[in-house]
């Protein structure tokens, strides 16, 4: 009976993991790493300029000393207590901290084709987390809207917690970037990779101001700008009241008259973000939720490759 229960638990655990990390997505990324080994290695291992090269800091267990073991690994304190030699075993080597910043503000709950931006962002975040776990990174997660909602500190053992946290995020409040991101910059002590997934509904200057703190602390910052196709193209035909999901304000709009100008403004916003973030060595990538997730990751890895070459 207990065995059956165990099996059920492990099956549901597996299901939960595959909900976020589509095996097909991982397969595509694996192929990509074969084609562009340097990009993959750079992203997963080589590019992470870890300050703790070759040594893990996550203690796993003690093991009895065997002849041939490095005597530097003997735990002398334990020897003092037990009068026996034990060496300390660590978790597999960890390269860097990988922190996901996931925007869960109300505007992220928008979706014109069934899949909301928040759903897409969750899938992407989970994929990246899983991806990083394979590289033995310490994984952390911050969900935020106008303030920090959930904070999972980076750890090599936190994949399950991160996935669980991503699984139950909901969007309830409007967004603000400055306040929560400054808090995150204060909270992350160890340098690493920080990935921001958001729809970036704020002026580019304000966004840059908010993420600067993270960048200046030595983190590699990657920004995923997630937008719905309807936000990019504004395909509406009916005149109606359009309500701002963030503020609740409703404005009567005749789309036919505003569509071209809207598209132009969005385009300028994206260009400005690309330029200003790029100037600060922050990687920026615009993702459209109608694109397959693996395509989005492919796009990201390609741009990451370019970034590596410039370094």
């Amino acid at each position: 009976m207990a065995r059956r229960s165990d099996r059920v638990d492990s099956a549901s655990e597996s299901d939960r993991r595959f909900r976020f990390v589509d095996p097909h997505v991982l397969a595509r990324i694996s192929n990509l790493s074969l084609l562009a080994r340097s990009v993959v290695e750079g992203f997963i291992s080589g590019l992470h300029r870890s300050t703790y090269l070759g040594r893990s800091v996550d203690f796993a267990e003690h093991r009895a000393y065997m002849p041939g073991d490095d005597i530097r690994r003997i735990d002398w304190r334990l020897f003092a207590r037990t009068d026996r030699f034990y060496v300390k075993e660590f978790e597999a080597d960890t390269n860097t901290s990988f922190t996901l910043l996931l925007d869960v503000s109300r505007s992220m709950s928008f979706g014109s084709e069934g899949l909301t931006k928040l759903d897409y962002a969750r899938f992407l975040a989970a994929s990246l987390a899983f991806f990083s776990q394979k590289q033995r990174d310490r994984i952390g997660l911050v969900t935020f809207d106008e303030d920090i909602v959930e904070f999972v500190p980076p750890s090599a053992k936190h994949l399950e917690i991160v996935l669980h946290t991503i699984d139950r995020v909901t969007s309830q409040k409007p967004s603000d970037y400055r306040r929560p991101l400054l808090k995150v910059a204060e909270a992350i002590r160890r340098r690493g990779i920080v990935v921001l997934i958001s729809d970036l509904y704020d002026e580019p200057e304000a966004i840059l101001d908010a993420v600067k703190g993270l960048r200046y602390k030595g983190n590699d910052l990657i920004v995923f700008h997630v937008l719905d196709p309807a936000e990019l193209k504004f395909p509406y035909a009916e005149a109606a009241s359009y309500q701002d999901l963030e503020t609740g304000e409703a404005v009567p709009i005749i789309p036919d008259y505003l569509r071209d100008e809207y598209r132009s403004l969005v385009q300028k916003h994206v260009e400005k973000l690309t330029r200003s973030l790029g100037d600060n060595q922050i990687d920026y990538s615009l993702l459209d939720t109608s694109m397959p997730l693996d395509y989005a990751l492919f796009h990201y890895l390609a741009s990451r490759e370019r970034l590596t070459r410039t370094r």
Partner: protein
């Protein structure tokens, strides 16, 4: 102009839709959620000029088409004046239908009904004709249509409660007949009743009052009804210490319209006027309980019994009468001969010792001990494989059967002698043949049973007895084939049980033994019920009912034959005297001897007394207990509108405040005129034109 469905005219408001589209073309009222209006707010506000009405003709076409559709669905018609005018002029034919079922005895319902009708009689016009019908589940016209108010009032004043349940069908049918015969144009039925739902769930479906009839319900029901009733009684009789005992139990039901506190009452068992036991009871609303009385010794003769509850608002369903009749046991005389007596009758005697409905008084004798007087008080004689039978004895048995007795002939090994065969010859269906020996093929079985016969009908249902397990190693055959009266056959076709009517009685011939010598039927579970059925059928036994229900018709002669011990042989074959029957209300009914079959309709609750004409009170008499139909105790109310609609639906419109008015109905008028069809056709034409026109305009616009 009138409309059959005027609410559809609201559909004309749909004309406003194209107007709104043409004139305003405003944004939808629906709110479209959008992630952020950050960019949209940056676009400077521009005033948008309102749409102008550009295609007036197109707009007119659309509006007209919608208007026509709305009109068509409203079903317009022109109401003819003559039909409505006819129903409001001239004298009336009024039928007062007054319920006098026993539920009208609840509180003062009947007197209220009379007062209601008397008030309406006073309001009749001088030329109005009225008649009074009383109904329960039967109806009776108390007077023919008249304008004499005094005669009508007298008829109403004489109405008495009946003991019958409610049924609206008969009364409405009678009212319909009167109205059909009437030449007056205005017809009205006033239905004065307590509207018991029970009365409606019957045969009212085919009653339709004539067109134009106004049915006015006068509802006498009360919202808070409370009724305690005796719904059934069970009487168990057994013998203890040689005396017959009675154990009675009664089912009491409390029906209440609303929940409330438990109701306490008392219930009594009365035998021959003496209250033997009284027990308390307490019932929650809408519950039932069974109250058992302690066993009492049954009096020697016939006794009248009553179970009585304390009185409530409806007292008539608080009593339950029954008659305890003696002579419920069947007298069986079993004859046998020879040294093997004990073996032969052992199983028969044991089987007949058991049984209480009826019980059997079995006496076994040697045939040589037979006296003529032995048969006078005997119901059934069993000749259990007797080897010899004298001519005188055969004659005695033959006479016994002709007078109504039952004879069971068991033809085993002993009955093979020629003297016996010759003696019983006239009683047999065919000459007796030899013995069939089936021992070599492990015995025969019974392959055919006549389940239509009373002997075997109780075994007809599945799992009600299996005769196939019995093996018959030897049995007697007849010399010639027997086709009539065969109730059972062996698997080779030889009759096993044959019935023959002789005079008023019957002879049953069993061609094997009733012990274990020729077969093992006696060891089978079916043997006991088979013997009981065989003897009961031979005696033409029918169980006498302890009570009857109001509405039943009693076959008096048959009842007397069953209940009373036969006073003489003459009485059994036919009645040579008049009968005087006294009803519970002391009404005398005389049934003359000349009447071929005396039938007595039981109309009253209580005891009917049946005795010979010319005998005094001390002479022997018989009682018949009559109880009410307990279904009437359920005072659940029917909505009067439901009844009105069901009997006036086809010819009338919706029931009005006081009843239903019928005429040349609006549906009929609208159906004849059929303007909706033209309107709808016009609308379709307009829509087709609009499609063509709008297509051309849009193409021109490109």
């Amino acid at each position: 102009m009138s409309f059959l469905a005027p609410l559809f005219l609201l559909g004309a408001l749909a004309i406003a839709i194209p107007v709104i589209i043409h004139l305003t073309h405003r944004e939808k009222k629906d709110v479209v959620p959008f992630p952020s209006l950050m960019f949209l707010r940056k676009i400077p506000y521009r005033s948008v000029r309102r749409q102008k009405l550009r295609h007036l003709f197109l707009f007119a076409l659309r509006s007209l088409a919608l208007l026509l559709i709305a009109l068509a669905f409203a079903r317009p018609f022109f109401e003819s004046f003559s039909a409505s005018a006819a129903s409001s002029l001239g004298p009336r034919e009024v039928v007062f239908l007054i319920d006098h079922s026993y539920s009208m005895g609840y509180e003062d319902r009947l007197s209220r009904a009379k007062a209601e009708v008397e008030g309406r009689i006073q309001s009749l016009g001088g030329e109005d004709l009225a008649s009074v019908i009383v109904f329960s589940d039967r109806a009776e016209v108390l007077n023919q249509p008249t304008s004499d108010k005094e005669a009508l009032e007298a008829a109403v004043a004489g109405i008495q409660l009946s003991a019958r349940p409610t049924g609206f069908g008969p009364g409405l049918k009678l009212a319909k007949r009167i109205l059909d015969d009437s030449e007056l144009s205005r017809k009205e039925v006033v239905l004065v009743t307590d509207f018991q739902r029970l009365g409606f769930e019957g045969d009212d479906d085919d009653v339709w009052l004539p067109a134009g009839t106004v049915l006015t319900p006068a509802d006498l029901s009360s919202p808070e009804t409370e009724n305690l009733s005796l719904t059934s009684v069970s009487l168990e009789r057994d013998e203890a210490s040689g005396r017959e005992r009675l154990t009675a139990s009664a089912r009491v039901t409390r029906k209440a319209a609303a929940d409330g506190a438990p109701l306490a009452s008392r219930i009594s068992l009365v035998i021959d006027g003496r209250a033997l036991q009284t027990k308390p009871l307490e019932l929650e609303p809408n519950t039932s309980a069974t109250i058992g009385f302690d066993p009492v010794t049954v009096p020697a003769g016939e006794a009248r019994g009553t179970i009585r509850l304390e009185q409530d608002a409806l007292p008539s369903d608080n009593v339950y009468h029954f008659v305890l009749s003696p002579g419920q046991a069947l007298s069986v005389l079993n004859f046998e001969e020879g040294a093997r007596r004990i073996r032969r009758s052992f199983y028969v005697e044991r089987a007949l010792e058991i049984g209480d409905r009826p019980s059997f008084r079995t006496e076994s004798k040697m045939l040589s001990q037979l006296r003529a007087s032995d048969l006078s008080a005997t119901d059934v004689v069993i000749l259990n494989d007797v080897p010899s039978l004298g001519e005188a004895q055969a004659k005695l048995f033959s006479e016994f059967v002709e007078k109504g007795g039952g004879l069971v002939l068991v033809l085993g090994e002993g009955s093979s002698r020629n003297s016996f065969t010759e003696a019983v010859g006239p009683l047999l269906p065919a000459a007796l043949g030899g013995v069939v020996d089936r021992a070599r093929d492990w015995g025969g079985t019974l392959s055919y049973l006549d389940y239509g016969s009373p002997v075997f009908e109780v075994f007809n249902a599945p799992h009600s007895g299996d005769f196939s397990g019995a093996k018959f190693f030897r049995y007697r055959a007849f010399e010639s084939p027997v086709s009539e009266g065969v109730l059972a056959r062996y698997d080779d076709g030889v009759p096993a049980l044959v019935e023959r009517r002789l005079g008023s009685g019957r002879v049953l011939v069993w061609t094997s033994t009733l012990d274990t010598f020729w077969n093992d039927l006696a060891r089978q579970p079916v043997f006991l019920p088979f013997m009981h059925q065989l003897v009961k059928h031979a005696a033409s036994y029918a169980e006498a009912s302890s009570w009857h229900t109001v509405g039943e018709v009693l076959d008096v002669d048959r009842y007397l034959a069953m209940v009373l011990e036969r006073e003489s042989e003459d009485d059994a074959s036919g009645r040579s005297f008049d009968l005087v029957i006294t009803s519970p209300s002391s009404r005398k009914i005389i049934l003359p001897r000349t009447e071929a079959r005396a039938l007595l309709p039981l109309e009253e609750q209580g005891f009917y007394d049946i005795r010979r004409a010319g005998t005094g009170a001390g002479a022997s008499s018989s009682s018949v207990a009559v109880n009410l139909d307990t279904a009437e105790s359920d005072l659940s109310r029917l909505d009067p509108e439901e009844l009105v609609a069901s009997v006036t639906f086809r010819e009338t419109g919706a029931p009005g405040s006081g009843g239903a008015v019928a005429g040349d109905s609006r549906e009929a008028q609208e159906g004849r005129q059929g303007y909706w069809w033209f309107l709808l056709s016009g609308a379709l034409l307009l829509l087709a034109s609009e499609t063509l026109l709008s297509n051309r305009l849009s193409m021109a616009g490109r």
